[in-house]
């Protein structure tokens, strides 16, 4: 099998493909209740679509129909333009990456051999496989030497990463991931999620991701498909839409009572309109500062240095002196960055017990002040959907 | 009623029918019925051989396994030693023992015992090893020291494996004990080798069938014992 020429009829190797479910249903035996009921979803190329729902809602079954691990009863699934039904299952699966919860690394092959499984099946030449393995190990953040070890010698988190690398090896058009981070402890799970998002920013695969955890869905998904028992689609929307406008009571319950707070995870500090605090320099006459205080949005002056970097807040006692002192009465407390997610910013504010926190840009210069009031105003108002969606995309990178 | 009579007639006609024996057919029912008594002794001898070998073998292998359970480093040695005894064909073993223990039942029992050791040792060891660590932990946490933990927790939980090992060992020993005839150890082998001189088909068939039935009987008895010893399993899944 030539290792450069793509298989006839399939899209070229470096094209990423869309995935579309067209009235897909799955029925087992003579059971009248379908496992998946008339599912219609389109996953655009390069997007992550998360299938989420309670146990038994058919999300895993739905995903597995995409690579014909489970056969479709009714309807069709289209990979790009072509139906998967007239593809040979084995060949189809080689074009898709497949990651399962228990990983399923081959204990009798080395890490390098595990990763190189599909390329080897496809007949790649040995040095091409080696190069690809090295590339992937670096991509997933593991040292190159690990390629010669065996799965039994790796930790759970490392094995999970190898599982992802193995799925990416032959540069698949679509990635299917079934609770890939489910078996990991929460700390490492968060790390792996972040790394996968970072990876996705680089390689932009079309991903179908299954999870039962709504928070993971909101964090990972460009679009989320909420499914309910009976295999029915309850809502298919972006995370922002899902949180702001749940389609029905089921979705509302599933998303959780704290969906307002969840929205805060979607916005960055720099996305909201910040307030201005009167700025004061060291050595400035306090009379000037006092004048600026009148009518200011933030009733406290912020001391900054010559680089416009915040040093602290000035108190009334400070203002009683003739000149602005070098060391302010109140320390800085919370200091925020424009790239911080609003949820973390709120957490910082609450931690310090302050109502206001200065916000700096990437170089550390003052950009504005964030107050708790700004956040609650944001939560109360139905912000323009496009703003939030756009912000959400930026959060996902 | 009408059809029964001709069949009975045929059977009566076959009783000790010299023709059947003369032609050395595979199975002569008449002869079997007539000569059933001659098999009683061999069967009894066979049972004695098997019971003695398996019981002694179990005692030894069980003790070895407990020793290795306590002192892990002994395990490879025991596995190797029992493995050698398992590998050597019983018939060779019989005659290796001959200069030392002579002909007779003792020699046969020693050799048959040696064969059972590895099977039982392996199964007891595996059974003990498969006891979940958290159960042992809970036991220790409740204040059980090593010995009570072993006898009250680990061994009962290992019973399924142990019984399985006993079954395999017993069935194998029943089959092997037919060779005891070569060292004058008695058993069903006598009917195959000595009495029938290896050519009397009916005799071979009967002896062989009896051996297989004996193995089956032992197996069923052990299964029943096993069920008794693990009622907790059935209750849990019931």
């Amino acid at each position: 099998m030539p290792d450069e020429a793509p298989s006839p009829g399939a899209p070229a190797q470096d094209e990423v493909s869309s995935l579309r479910y067209d009235h897909v249903s799955k029925r087992y035996g003579d059971s009248t209740d379908p496992a998946v009921d008339d599912l219609n979803i389109e996953v655009a190329a390069g997007e992550i679509c998360v299938l989420v729902g309670p146990s038994g809602c058919g999300k895993t079954t739905a995903m597995r129909m995409a690579n014909r691990t489970v056969e479709i009863s009714e309807g069709d699934i289209l990979l790009g333009e072509r139906s998967i039904r007239d593809r040979d299952p084995a060949r189809l699966r080689r074009e898709m990456g497949y990651v399962i919860q228990q990983i399923g690394l081959f204990p009798h092959r080395t890490i390098a051999q595990n990763i190189g499984t599909v390329p080897q099946l496809e007949g790649w030449k040995r040095d091409r496989i080696e190069a690809r393995v090295a590339e992937l190990l670096e991509l997933i953040g593991l040292e190159p030497g690990i390629g010669d070890r065996y799965p039994a010698q790796l930790s759970g988190g490392q094995q999970q990463r190898v599982g992802v690398a193995r799925a990416l090896a032959a540069d698949p058009l679509v990635m299917l991931m079934d609770e890939p981070f489910g078996a990991i402890d929460p700390i490492n799970r968060e790390r792996l999620q972040n790394e996968f998002l970072r990876l996705q920013a680089e390689i932009r695969k079309t991903v179908l991701f299954v999870t039962h955890d709504i928070d993971e869905a909101i964090k990972m998904g460009d679009r989320i498909a909420v499914m309910r028992e009976g295999g029915r689609l309850a809502q298919y929307a972006t995370p922002a839409e899902l949180l702001m406008a749940p389609a029905d009571e089921f979705v509302e319950d599933f998303v959780g009572a704290d969906r307002a707070l969840k929205r805060l995870a979607l916005m960055r500090v720099g996305d909201v309109e910040l307030w201005e605090a009167p700025l004061a320099y060291v050595g400035q006459p306090t009379s000037e500062v006092v004048r600026k205080l009148e009518g200011a949005e933030v009733p406290y002056p912020l001391l900054i240095d010559s680089e416009r970097r915040p040093l602290g807040w000035l108190s009334e006692r400070d203002l009683a002196k003739g000149m602005v002192p070098a060391t302010p009465d109140s320390p800085l407390g919370a200091l925020l960055d424009r790239d911080d997610v609003l949820r973390d910013a709120l957490a910082d504010l609450l931690q310090e017990g302050s109502q206001y926190a200065p916000v700096t840009d990437a170089s550390g210069r003052i950009a504005g002040v964030l107050s708790v009031e700004i956040i609650s105003e944001f939560l109360a108002s139905p912000a323009a959907e496009s703003d939030e969606r756009g912000a959400a995309e930026r959060v996902h990178g | 009623m009408v059809s029964a009579a001709p069949i009975a007639e045929v059977l009566l006609h076959n009783r000790s029918n010299p023709d059947c024996i003369q032609r050395n057919e595979i199975f002569c029912p008449g002869w079997a019925v007539d000569n059933f008594n001659r098999y009683v002794d061999p069967v009894i001898q066979h049972v004695v051989l098997v019971l003695a070998s398996v019981c002694i073998g179990f005692a030894i292998a069980f003790a070895l396994s407990l020793l290795a359970h306590r002192h892990r480093w002994l395990s490879p040695t025991f596995l190797g030693a029992t493995g050698v005894l398992y590998t050597i064909p019983s018939i060779a073993f019989f005659f290796l023992l001959l200069p030392i223990t002579g002909r007779g039942r003792t020699t046969a029992i020693i050799a048959l015992t040696a064969f059972t050791l590895q099977i039982i040792y392996r199964n007891v060891t595996t059974g003990l090893a498969n006891v979940p660590a958290d159960i042992k932990d809970a036991g220790r946490g409740m204040g059980l020291t090593d010995r009570p933990l072993l006898w009250r927790v680990e061994i009962p939980l290992a019973m399924p494996e142990i019984i399985a090992g006993l079954r395999i060992a017993t069935v194998s020993t029943v089959a092997l004990a037919t060779l005891a005839v070569f060292v004058n150890g008695g058993g069903l082998g006598v009917e195959i080798y000595t009495a029938g001189n290896l050519t009397f088909k009916t005799g071979i068939v009967i002896a062989g069938t009896l051996a297989i039935l004996l193995a089956l009987a032992f197996d069923l008895i052990l299964v029943a014992i096993g069920r008794r010893a693990t009622t907790w399993r059935r209750v849990a899944s019931g």
Binding site: I103, L121 | A92, F93, L96, P99, I100, V174, L198
Partner: protein, 250 residues
């Protein structure tokens, strides 16, 4: 040299001395030809030549029977294990095979269909098939299901899954079955002289021809051959087992 072990043992020290002497005679028998005890058509017995001939015959019989057993049992066990079907039958055959008395088997074979290498090989295969069938089935069906699912999901065909994943992982269990089969076959091949195929067992079974030292020599040789085969198979198993599987074991 009168064997003191004719009677039931009683005088251990006396017997040990006698036994020691007999072992010496046995080794002598292996290497040097000596006059036959009775006629039996042979003028001299013993010596490396005869030992070699009979050993080769035993080896030949064993290898043929083992080959036949593997050829029949392995594909069936592998197929059933891969599909996960027929567990009851696979296990039942394994259990039943254990209960077959080898003496009755070859005696019946000889009486029913006659003697000869071919018939003997088939009879020995009856003893060799059960352990291989059962162990192959268990080995393959108990392979880590996650690895198999991942393999299928990645696009391996059924045959590729068997060859690349299930078989390599099942090697230890399957080889264990092969070794058990070998032990059964070697043991029965030893008594093959009873049905006309002359193997090393002939030394053991024809005391009137070979004498007590011949009998003992035969026992020693058979034991050595069995051990040698077992070690070879253990070595082959070690070679065939992936290093990844040897990790994490005691």
């Amino acid at each position: 040299m009168e064997a003191g072990g004719e009677r039931m043992s009683g005088l251990v020290p006396h017997l040990s001395l006698g036994a020691l002497g007999l072992f010496g005679d046995a080794f002598d028998f292996i290497f040097h030809q000596q006059p036959a005890k009775t006629g039996g058509g042979l003028a001299t017995v013993g010596g490396l030549d005869q030992v070699g001939t009979l050993a080769v015959e035993q080896l030949k019989v064993t290898v043929l029977a083992l080959g036949l057993s593997i050829a029949i049992a392995f594909p069936i066990g592998a197929y059933l294990g891969h599909r996960g079907a027929g567990e009851g039958m696979a296990l039942a055959i394994g259990n039943a095979g254990r209960a077959i008395p080898e003496l009755a088997l070859i005696a019946f074979m000889a009486a029913a269909i006659g003697v000869g290498l071919g018939n003997l090989t088939m009879a020995l295969a009856v003893l060799g098939i059960p352990p291989i069938l059962t162990n192959t089935y268990v080995g393959i069906s108990q392979v880590d299901r996650n690895a198999v699912e991942a393999a299928r999901g990645m696009g391996m065909t059924g045959g590729e899954v068997i060859r690349r994943v299930e078989l390599p992982l099942a090697v230890p269990t399957i080889m264990s079955g092969v070794r058990t089969a070998t032990i059964n076959i070697v043991a029965t091949a030893t008594i093959a002289p009873l049905v006309g195929v002359l193997t090393l067992g002939d030394f053991i079974l024809s005391r009137n021809v070979y004498g007590d030292e011949g009998v003992l020599a035969g026992a020693i040789l058979v034991a050595l051959m069995a051990l040698a085969l077992e070690l070879s198979l253990a070595g082959i198993q070690w070679l065939m087992t992936s290093p990844g599987l040897r990790l994490g074991r005691e």
